[in-house]
C-alpha cells in the first residue's frame, strides 16, 4: 500500500461503492495517480439494487434537468459496458430488454396516460399498449392489467457484476486501495489536503472526492457549509429464482404502482428475478423486516400472480443516498481540494457512466462539463445563487 513515490496522490476517492469505483477508474485512466479508501470496497447500495436503467419510466414532473443527465448516462451505457467488460474481462449483465409499466384500474391508467403524454412531449420513446397487448408480451401478467407503457430504451444491468467489474478495472488501472475507513478530512488552511484513516494513516492528495453514498454527510473535519445534505433512504429488495421449467418467466422489466407504491420485477438472463423496492426513511437501519418482505410479495403478486411458485432466494436491504432534490451532487465544493460525487438516490446505477466521466473531467481540469453544471453541490450551499434542478418547472 502506501502512497505514490512523493507521498501525494493526484486524486483520492472516499468510498468504494459504484460511484467511488467509477470515479477512481476514470481518474486513473486519465493518468491521475489515484487512491480509494474503503474498509470493504465493492459494497454499498449497488449490492442491493435491482439495476434498472429507467430514465424514461422513472420520469417525474419537475425533474426534467435530472432527466437530461439520466438520458445522457443511458446513452453512454452501451459503450461504457463494452469498455468496462474489455478492461475487466467480466460480463456485467447488461440486457437491452426494455421495460413495461402496467396499469390496473382507471386511476392508474389515467396516470400512465399522462406520463405517456409528458414523455412524448419531451421527445422520449414510449409506446401505449392495451391490456391484451401487454399480456401478449408478458403472459404471466395478472388478468387485471388494463394497459401499459412500453419503453424499449429502459434496460438493465446487474449491479453486483457491475461492481465486481469496476473493482477489477480499478485494480488493473493502478488505483491504490486503502482498505480502511476514512475517519477525518485533513485541512491546510482553507484547503482539503487528504484524509486520515482509521488506525491513523494519513493520505494526502491534490483533490479528494467524497463518494461515500449515504454516509457522505458524516465525515469528520468537513466544514458544515460544505457537508453534503444526504440522508439514508432504506430500500428492501427480494431475489427470487426462476426454475428452468418456468423460463422465461418474464422477458423484460415489469413495473406497476400498487396501493400508491411502485413495485418492479427485473428478470435477469441467469434466472434471477429481482423484486423491489421499499422506500423508508428510518435512519441507518438496514434490517430486513417482515413488513417490507410482506409488502413486496403482496404487490408483486398482484402484478404477476405466478411468483408464488418461485423460490425466494435472498432478502436484503440497503441505503440510497437521498438528496434534497433527488439529484446527485457532482464536482467541486466551496472548499478548494474537496469534490463530491454523492446523493444519487434512486439513480446511482443509471448515472454510473456519466458520473465517472464528469468526475474525471472535474479532477483533471477543475471544472464541471456543461451537462453536469446544474448538479454542482454549491446549489445547496448558496440557494439564492443557483436554482435547484428540481425547482425548474416544466411549462
Amino acid at each position: 500500500m502506501g502512497g505514490p513515490p512523493d507521498g501525494r496522490y493526484d486524486a483520492l476517492v472516499i468510498g468504494g461503492g459504484i460511484i467511488g469505483l467509477v470515479t477512481a477508474w476514470r481518474a486513473a485512466l486519465r493518468g491521475l495517480r489515484t487512491a480509494l479508501a474503503d474498509p470493504a470496497p465493492g459494497g454499498g447500495a449497488a449490492w442491493v439494487a435491482a439495476g434498472m436503467l429507467a430514465a424514461v419510466t422513472e420520469l417525474h414532473y419537475g425533474e426534467q434537468t435530472l432527466l437530461g443527465l439520466n438520458m445522457a448516462s443511458a446513452r453512454r451505457y452501451p459503450d461504457f459496458v463494452a469498455e468496462l467488460e474489455e478492461a475487466s474481462g467480466q460480463d456485467v449483465g447488461h440486457r437491452a430488454c426494455g421495460t413495461l409499466a402496467v396499469a390496473f384500474d382507471a386511476d392508474d391508467r389515467a396516470h400512465l396516460r399522462e406520463l405517456h403524454t409528458f414523455q412524448r412531449g419531451l421527445g422520449l420513446e414510449s409506446e401505449w399498449l392495451t391490456g391484451r397487448e401487454c399480456r401478449r408480451l408478458e403472459p404471466m401478467l395478472a388478468p387485471g392489467v388494463h394497459g401499459g407503457l412500453r419503453v424499449s430504451g429502459d434496460n438493465q444491468v446487474d449491479p453486483r457484476r457491475l461492481t465486481a467489474a469496476l473493482l477489477t478495472a480499478c485494480e488493473r488501472a493502478g488505483v491504490a486501495f486503502h482498505r480502511a475507513r476514512a475517519e477525518r478530512l485533513l485541512l491546510d488552511g482553507d484547503r482539503a489536503t487528504g484524509i486520515e484513516l482509521a488506525g491513523g494513516t494519513r493520505l494526502t492528495a491534490e483533490r479528494t472526492v467524497l463518494a461515500a453514498g449515504s454516509l457522505s454527510g458524516r465525515l469528520a473535519g468537513v466544514p458544515d457549509d460544505v457537508l453534503p445534505p444526504v440522508r439514508p433512504v432504506k430500500g428492501q429488495v427480494l431475489r427470487l429464482s426462476v426454475p428452468e421449467r418456468y423460463a422465461p418467466f418474464l422477458s423484460r422489466t415489469v413495473r406497476a404502482v400498487v396501493r400508491g407504491g411502485p413495485v418492479y420485477l427485473v428478470p435477469r438472463e441467469n434466472g434471477e428475478l429481482v423484486i423491489g423496492a421499499t422506500s423508508e426513511e428510518l435512519g441507518w437501519d438496514t434490517t430486513v423486516t417482515a413488513g417490507g418482505v410482506y409488502e413486496l410479495l403482496r404487490d408483486a403478486h398482484e402484478v404477476v400472480p405466478g411468483i408464488t411458485e418461485l423460490p425466494l432466494v435472498e432478502t436484503c436491504a440497503g441505503l440510497r443516498p437521498g438528496s434534497p432534490d433527488n439529484a446527485p451532487m457532482l464536482g467541486p465544493t466551496a472548499l478548494p481540494g474537496l469534490l463530491l460525487a454523492t446523493g444519487h438516490h434512486r439513480n446511482g446505477v443509471l448515472l454510473t457512466p456519466i458520473t465517472g466521466d464528469v468526475m474525471a473531467e472535474a479532477l483533471t481540469s477543475g471544472e464541471l462539463p456543461p451537462e453536469a453544471r446544474p448538479f454542482t453541490p454549491r446549489r445547496f450551499a448558496a440557494p439564492a445563487a443557483t436554482p435547484s434542478p428540481a425547482q425548474e418547472q416544466h411549462p
Copy 2:
C-alpha cells in the same frame, strides 16, 4: 466407529432426528448397546418446527385415540425436560406459557365454540374468553379478534435446543454414532438383522428401528408389506426477532385460522418469534417459495398487525412424516427384528417423550406398553384386524 466387541448391537436406530435420538437415548439408558446411523444427526423436521406442544388446541374430531397419546406425552414433558437438561447440561427452552386460539368472524367463533365444547366434554382444560379479554392478555392482537380459547396446558419447547440436548445426551449415554446413510436393511431369512451403510459398512443388531421421518418409506430391502406408508408433508416456517424495545411482543403462543388455514406465532424467551406453517404435498421439495412466505406473513399480519415492524431473520422448510391417519407408527412390525418409530406428522416434538419411553420398552421387552398399542404399524398392514385410531369415532 465399528460395532461393540462381539460385532452386534442390541438396538440400531436409523435416523438422527428427534425421534431417532430419543429412541437411542432411552434405549441406551436401559442398558442396551445402541447405535444410530445418520449422515448428519441432529437435522430433520425438528430443525424447522416451531415446537408447540399443542395437544388440546390441535384436537381434531375423530382423533381422540391420538389425543390420548398426545396428552400422555404432554404430561411427561416437565419430567422429561428436567431429566434431559440434567443429562445434557443444556437448556431446551421449555416454556409453560400456554396458548391462545383466537377467532375473527362469526364462523371462526362458532368453530372455536364447538371445539371448546368438544374439549370440555373430554375433560380438557380450556377457557372461553371475549375479544376484550384476549386483547388484555395479548395487546398486540388485531382489533378484529372477537373471542378465543385460552389453553394453559399447551406449552412450547425450542426444537433446535431439544435436538442438540438429545445429541449430547446420546453421546453421554454411550450411543455409537455412524455418520453415514443407511442404504439397505439386511435380512436373514424372515428376520431383520441390521443395515448396510453407504460405503458398504454393515451393522448388525438384535433389533433395528426405522425412525427416518419422511424418508422411512424409502429404505431398500424392507419388504413391501412392512414398508411404512409415510409421505413428506412440506412445512415452511419463518423466524422473526423481537427487538428489546418491543418486548414482550407476545407472551404466549397465539394461533388462528385465516382463510381456512391455520397460522401460529410462537414467542420464545430469547426474543425469537416463530411463524408457521404451510402444509404442502409436493413430494421431496424443500424450497422456500415466495408464495409460502407471502401467505405466512399475510395471515400472521392479520392476527398480529405489528409483526411488520419485526426483523425477518430466517425462512426455512422441512418435511413432516405424514401418515394415513395422522398418527405415528410405533413398535414391532410384522418382520421380526424390525420396529418403526415414524409417521409423527405434526406431533413429533410433542410426542418425543412418550416415543422414547414406548420404544425403549418395545426394544427391551419386545412388547408395546398399553397406551401405545393403538399405534402399532400393523394397523396398516392388516386393516381388517386393527382399526385405525382415526377411524374410531367419538359418539
